[in-house]
């Protein structure tokens, strides 16, 4: 990479600011009340699976910077129908152990011989695949329930506005 000797300090700062912004969602003007959305987030138990600003459970994705990573349209789609927006590497699996136990959890790692899971209680499991009675990859499934039919349109707007305002820690 050539040295950018031809740029002034101000221009370098501007380029850096531009590059740092890439991948981040530009703030939108949204309907709804984020303060009410915060109450809806708490009332519906979202923190039972998500961490936001250090509070909650680390089963699902952290939402502290949800608004910087996801636009309002994507957030709405995820809330209304989570199976439509499953991230590329996310996989929900069901493992049947030799003792007859069935474990459902999120895949953390998998190679040719082993697989590691995390269940809804946050417990880690490590299996040798050859020792499992069955291993189902539940493609298209997610432990997150749809909220489109649980929340009113106004509540959904409030919640989306609240999540979109989560831009990460300063």
């Amino acid at each position: 990479m050539p040295e950018a000797w031809y740029l002034s300090q101000e221009e370098i700062a501007s380029v850096a600011a531009y590059v740092r912004r890439l991948g981040n969602v530009v703030p939108e003007v949204l309907p709804g009340d984020p303060a009410r959305g915060k109450a809806i987030y708490a009332r519906n138990g979202c923190s039972a699976c998500h961490i936001l600003d250090g509070e909650g459970s680390g089963y699902g994705p952290e939402l502290t910077d949800a608004g910087a990573r996801r636009g309002s349209a994507r957030l709405r789609e995820t809330l209304q129908n989570p199976t439509k927006t499953i991230p590329e590497k996310f996989l929900f699996v069901e493992a049947a152990t030799p003792s007859g136990q069935t474990i459902r959890g999120i895949r953390l790692n998998e190679d040719s011989f082993t697989i590691q899971l995390k269940d809804q209680q946050g417990r880690f499991y490590s299996f040798r695949k050859s020792e499992l009675r069955d291993l189902k990859k539940l493609r298209g499934e997610t432990p997150m329930p749809p909220y489109g039919s649980v929340l009113s349109p106004a509540d959904l707007d409030d919640l989306i506005h609240f999540l979109a305002s989560q831009r990460g820690k300063p």
Partner: protein
């Protein structure tokens, strides 16, 4: 149909939430206090709060240790790490410089990783980029970073729960040691003894990250011990605290070693004993107040840090057979805190120069025996 679906979800949602409870407390303090009951786990830096660093496991022993082979390897991208892993139910929690990971003990696969960028203007002065391990309490993993932050990470996902700014790295401070989790608090020390710092030991509320107390290893003006410094030397007199201490949950005392005075090899600019450098301090866990200290090397000019891991043991000092005092202070120092407390009525007066000195009579019975050792053993240099 939509109304039926809506009703169904309203009915199912509470059931789902019940099946997805908030993270439970995986490692309550009582589990760490009773670490000896869990031989397969390693719940604190020294395995127990008393600093014993002893594993009762026998599968690997002197007969077969030469046959050990690499099963798996995990490497941080950084050049080195000196970590004592925390082990909880087959999961290893390790740290590198400004990084942490949870590893499957069976395969070495990462269950989660976390990395905090090292600022481009950060410099390690007198040591390399390294980290000596994490601490755990309840549902959090605590990690000290080179650039002076104490991070509380979610044990199950690595997400940051809180971050406390312990120090300003631009003043020469840093952190490389493993934090010590005690009852409701996390205790940390600092590096930078060759960078002109004024050392301290800090405690933070484990739930919120709020600072609970700070103990300056160099007393400020009008504080006892300040008279052992001259001029402004106390402001940059070092006294780093870069090795994890020990804790007595019964006495509620934190024990910590304090490093060399600075500049270390030349004491001309800091006449005096330079308390509490090269000392061993016992602090009240609730307040951080000094309860007693022992200085191994007054006015040290040989870099004789006292930052070894304190090892606590309880025994009756009055017994004739008690003769457990180690001979080399740089290697090991054993304090009999409980016995010292119980025998405080038999206190001896403070010793005079040039031997080690004691601030209060509470530790005197044991320390008196230390001081009765041949002087050449007391003043042995570092290995």
């Amino acid at each position: 149909m939509k109304r039926l679906e809506q009703r169904l979800w309203i009915f199912l949602l509470p059931l789902f939430l019940l099946s997805c409870p908030a993270t439970f407390a995986q490692v309550p303090f009582e589990r760490i206090v009773n670490a000896d009951k869990e031989p397969g786990n390693w719940l604190t830096y020294s395995r127990d709060l008393q600093g014993h660093r002893f594993s009762p496991l026998t599968e690997i022993n002197t007969q077969n240790v030469s046959q050990i082979k690499v099963k798996w390897a995990f490497q941080f991208p950084d050049d080195r790490t000196e970590v004592s892993p925390i082990v909880i139910d087959s999961v290893l929690y390790i740290t590198g410089p400004n990084s942490a990971a949870a590893l499957d003990g069976r395969t070495g696969r990462a269950l989660w990783t976390c990395r905090r960028p090292i600022p481009s203007d950060y410099h390690s002065i007198g040591f390399g980029h390294t980290n000596r391990g994490p601490a755990v309490l309840d549902d959090k993993l605590f990690v000290a970073t080179l650039d002076g932050h104490l991070l509380a990470l979610d044990l199950k996902s690595g997400a940051e729960r809180w971050s406390a700014e312990v120090l300003d790295y631009k003043l020469g401070y840093s952190m490389t040691m493993a934090p010590l989790a005690i009852d409701g608090k996390v205790v940390v020390g600092v590096s930078g003894g060759e960078a002109g710092i004024r050392g301290f030991i800090d405690a933070y509320d484990a739930k919120t990250g709020a600072q609970a107390w700070r103990f300056w290893t160099i007393p400020g003006p009008n504080e006892p011990g300040h008279e052992t410094w001259s001029g402004d030397a106390w402001k940059t007199g070092s006294g780093a605290t870069w090795v994890t201490g020990a804790y007595d949950p019964e006495l509620k005392l934190v024990y910590w070693g304090v490093g060399n005075p600075g500049p270390d090899w030349n004491g001309d600019v800091r006449p005096g004993d330079n308390l509490y450098t090269c000392s061993f301090v016992a602090l009240d866990a609730a307040t951080g107040k000094l309860r007693w200290y022992f200085q191994f090397s007054p006015h040290d000019t040989h870099d004789w840090d006292a930052t070894h891991v304190p090892m606590l043991s309880t025994r009756k000092l009055a017994a004739q057979s008690a003769n457990s005092a180690p001979s080399r202070t740089e290697t090991l120092f054993t304090t009999c805190s409980t016995a010292a407390r119980e025998n405080s009525s038999r206190a001896s007066p403070m010793p005079s120069k040039p031997g080690p000195r004691v601030s209060t009579p509470k530790a005197a019975p044991f320390l008196r025996r230390i001081m009765s050792l041949p002087k050449k053993e007391i003043s042995s240099g570092p290995t």
